[in-house]
């Protein structure tokens, strides 16, 4: 209501002033043209640059066997998307994540063990591709240090309790 009234009054004031009329007659088409140009540049470019093929058959299609789909889902949630590194392939809409889901589902449908599929990917991309924690040459301190700290804390408490007793 207020907005409507404001534009009407401004419109009548502006249209009375010849300078405003010329300015408006130039700016409105220019602005409209720029906007159209911006839309033309911004919109179709990313669309055409992104995906030209439909997603992989099993990227968004669940397996018919619920047990197999469950196994696939559990595996996909613990595999890292390589293009969008903070997401699992189950979470990501990146085309490559779709291809990885297709890979996982088609292998599970063919009877492959989920951990064998994980091992296949780890062989190619290293531990990085898997979110499942594993003790390895580089990760053992992550498991050892908390254990060590707990032992030290336990020893300190034990000594203190014995002294105070």
């Amino acid at each position: 209501m207020n907005g409507q009234a404001y534009t009407t009054s401004r419109h009548s004031r502006e249209s009375g002033n010849p300078v405003w009329r010329i300015a408006r007659s130039l700016w409105i088409p220019a602005f409209a043209g720029m906007t159209m140009l911006a839309i033309m540049i911004l919109v179709p470019e990313p669309l055409s640059a992104q995906q030209s093929l439909p997603p992989a058959p099993l990227a968004y299609e669940q397996l018919e066997d619920p047990a197999q789909e469950q196994a696939a889902q559990e595996l996909m949630e613990t595999l890292r998307c390589l293009k969008c590194q903070s997401q699992s392939i189950a979470d990501s809409d990146a085309p490559m994540a779709g291809d990885m889901r297709h890979q996982v589902r088609s292998r599970i449908a063919a009877g492959e063990d989920p951990e064998a599929i994980r091992a296949w990917l780890v062989e190619r991309y290293g531990d990085y591709v898997s979110y499942a924690p594993s003790v390895s040459e580089t990760t053992w301190p992550l498991f050892a240090v908390p254990l060590l700290l707990m032992l030290v804390a336990g020893a300190l408490i034990w000594r203190r309790l014995r002294k105070s007793a």
């Binding site: 030209s52 992989a56 390589l82 590194q85 490559m96 062989e123 190619r124 990085y128």
Partner: protein
């Protein structure tokens, strides 16, 4: 009793905070290197991605001649930037085979007409099967494969002018 050791946890805390602060200022390494270096390219058989060039199979990579295996796509912008450098590699005698990721033949044809075709063979990898099997995580990537089909080097990202001599050297090493 000596109280000096009470400062150790505080020291450790500042040490940790300092390390975290330092790491935050470092650029993030977004490249995931393939762990297939030194291993053979697995079996594959890709249909042609372009009418003028044959497709690509594992036997092509085992013909005794080292090759550059270029993972690319017509929808990939850095691939346009690297096209001229691939052309130069080809002029310098490199045999470059291409793998087009998630691409249509008409888009491949348009790209090659516009930016040149340095490839002797181009396979069509619609489901990223070959890409996943050699540990490649994006486009473009360029692998040096020796005459026995063993991956000897991976270059991540577009090939720039400064990479050309290095890749030629890797090819020469792979051939020797």
């Amino acid at each position: 009793m000596n109280k000096a050791w009470l400062w150790i946890p505080l020291g450790l805390f500042f040490g940790f905070a300092g390390l975290a602060a330092y790491q935050l200022t470092q650029p993030k390494d977004e490249f995931i290197a393939s762990t297939m270096i030194g291993k053979p390219v697995p079996e594959f058989d890709l249909p042609p991605a372009h009418a003028d060039r044959p497709g690509l199979t594992i036997s092509d990579l085992k013909d005794g001649k080292p090759k550059l295996l270029n993972i690319w796509a017509s929808w990939c912008l850095p691939c346009i930037a690297e096209a001229e450098h691939l052309d130069r590699l080809k002029r310098e005698g490199a045999d470059i085979v291409g793998v087009a990721i998630r691409d249509r033949p008409e888009d491949v044809a348009r790209f090659l007409a516009q930016h040149g075709n340095p490839y002797s063979k181009i396979g069509k990898d619609d489901l990223s099967n070959l890409q996943l099997s050699i540990g490649s995580s994006g486009v473009p990537e360029t692998f040096v494969v020796n005459g026995d089909g063993i991956i000897v080097y991976q270059h991540i990202g577009d090939v720039r002018a400064e990479h050309v001599p290095m890749l030629l050297e890797k090819l020469a090493e792979a051939g020797g």
